[in-house]
Symmetry: C2
């Protein structure tokens, strides 16, 4: 008889990770026991330890797998569309939203549970996140050099990430509104907002309400 050799080892590993991600997202990493994971997977706890060294390794794989796919997305868009920065950023936003739709559990885990990892793993994952933020900040700096020069490209990128990343708290699967269907609205809000935003050094920061143009008038193309 031929030796079966680790049957579907990689398949099992992936199945366990999907399962663990769902539980971590629901009950939190610390609030989920290895026994919970085992039961949900239909496996014994010792079997879990055959596939993963410990609980932390599961967490690290879930978070890093997700952020790695985001980095790949960033790099593929950078490679594919050397052209207009606006089209590139819009493609980035839309692809991110499609990715998020299929990775909601992993995304919540990345957001809320990475803090429980040992420093080495945490830093490795944070560095990949920084890589993603930088890509967005660069695109924003190209669209609005004044904002970039004022050092506000990253803050604006983070505000954009806020719109998109916060969606996991309220956009539930199975409803009519989906990640894909809301993408154009997100892009509209952001691109029109970015085009209209006042330059930081124009002095209006000290008197936020007094200086706003009426929203019913056409937004300024760009300040000064």
């Amino acid at each position: 008889m031929a030796r079966p050799r680790a049957d579907n080892y990689e398949g099992q590993r992936e199945a366990i990770l999907k399962c663990a991600a769902a539980l971590f997202a629901q009950r939190g990493y610390v609030g989920t026991s290895m026994n919970d994971v085992a039961v949900a997977c239909g496996l014994s706890k010792p079997t879990l330890y055959h596939y993963y060294r410990d609980k932390d390794e599961m967490l690290a794989r879930i978070a890093e797998g997700h952020v790695s796919r985001l980095v790949e997305l960033v790099e593929s868009v950078e490679a594919d569309s050397p052209g207009a920065p606006e089209a590139r950023l819009e493609m980035l936003i839309t692809r991110f939203l499609l990715e998020y739709a299929d990775a909601q559990d992993a995304h919540r885990v990345l957001t809320e549970d990475v803090k429980f990892l040992p420093k080495v793993d945490r830093e490795r994952i944070l560095n990949k996140e920084r890589r993603v933020v930088e890509a967005y900040a660069n695109a924003i700096g190209l669209l609005r050099p004044d904002i970039g020069k004022a050092g506000l490209d990253k803050p604006v990128a983070m505000l954009l990430f806020g719109m998109v990343n916060w969606m996991f708290t309220w956009l539930k699967p199975g409803r009519s509104l989906t990640h894909a269907s809301i993408a154009p609205l997100v892009c509209d809000l952001f691109f029109f907002g970015l085009a209209g935003a006042t330059a930081p050094a124009s002095g209006r920061r000290t008197t936020p309400t007094a200086c706003r143009r009426s929203w019913t008038s056409a937004p300024a193309r760009r300040p000064a």
Copy 2:
């Protein structure tokens, strides 16, 4: 000797809550032990239980206290400025950001740890959150009736909350960029974005990239 009678009971309660909120925000609710809280407060664990029935009560007080202040903010703005919806919404955003600046721990706890509360407490807090969302959605519906009629006023409100609520992940205290100084940028991004956003029923949702106007041209006032 006169009995001191509950000295500074309420003061101690508040001090413990501040302390606990900082720990919960840092290590998570489940990841924080009552002993951690006791040590950080400079109290014994049994003393903690003199001020709070159990760990859940601390969590509930932190989260509900924060969201209650947000509801009060909403109601005070509704009472004070019966006038222009845009000015009211801008005031709401700015006051929220100022509140967030002083309640970053509580805000993180509200965001990440309410799920660990018993259903009764959780629902009570969620209802207050819904009250806040509705106020924002109403203001947005007044500014863009077409978006309101399409049922997108709440989604747009949630996108706005995303920008603002996500800030706790990246805006660290002690830097030059503060909640107050970024408020005008947030308002600009949102109001110009809202003014330019295409109406949902205009058909562009099926072809997101093809239909966008160039961001360099002036945004449309409003669709059709």
